[in-house]
Subunit: 108 residues, 2 copies
């Protein structure tokens, strides 16, 4: 699992969500009715060139936050929970990037 | 709280940890014996100009991940848990960026 012992891997995961467009893409895909969103539908939500949107989607896919499946003309995207779980676990109190819960820190 | 409704604020938080140096800085500060680390001690861990290290620390402080206190010649840094809590809560299953736990997704 990526953590502080592999700072580059941890940073790459967080970088996936370090852009407002990518945060919005994740939100759109997770809310898609069937649990998957077509590139065509995502493109309709953003006023930007399709090449820029593809670039952001590629970063999310490479980080493991989304999966991509090509069907006919379009790609379809689903949320992949493993990467999000890894990030959440790193940030959890007592996790690899955190101390024990705050209430214990000023004891002893 | 920063979340998908404010993608820029969410992205800025994740950007704080989107660099290996900043992941390492967080890990060093949280492990400092007294709960705080001096700039002088942090600088000794990195083979980079002090101005670059200051830049990374400033990003962490601006995002609320570290707090900075100046005493005499040096700045001292402590982990500030609020920003890390916010990120963790966004990533938690059922949180603003996540669906309910995976086992519920294919029902109904």
């Amino acid at each position: 699992m990526a953590d502080e012992r592999d700072p580059a891997a941890a940073a790459q995961l967080f970088k996936a969500l370090a852009d407002p467009v990518r945060v919005q893409l994740l939100a759109l895909v997770r809310r898609a009715p069937s649990g998957e969103a077509c590139f065509c539908d995502l493109a309709a939500e953003f006023d930007m060139p399709q090449s820029s949107l593809s670039h952001h989607l590629k970063i999310l896919v490479n980080a493991g936050v989304l999966t991509r499946e090509r069907r006919g003309t379009w790609s379809w995207y689903q949320v992949e929970h493993a990467a999000l779980d890894t990030m959440e676990q790193m940030l959890r109190p007592g996790g690899p990037l955190r101390d024990e819960p705050v209430e214990h820190q000023h004891q002893g």
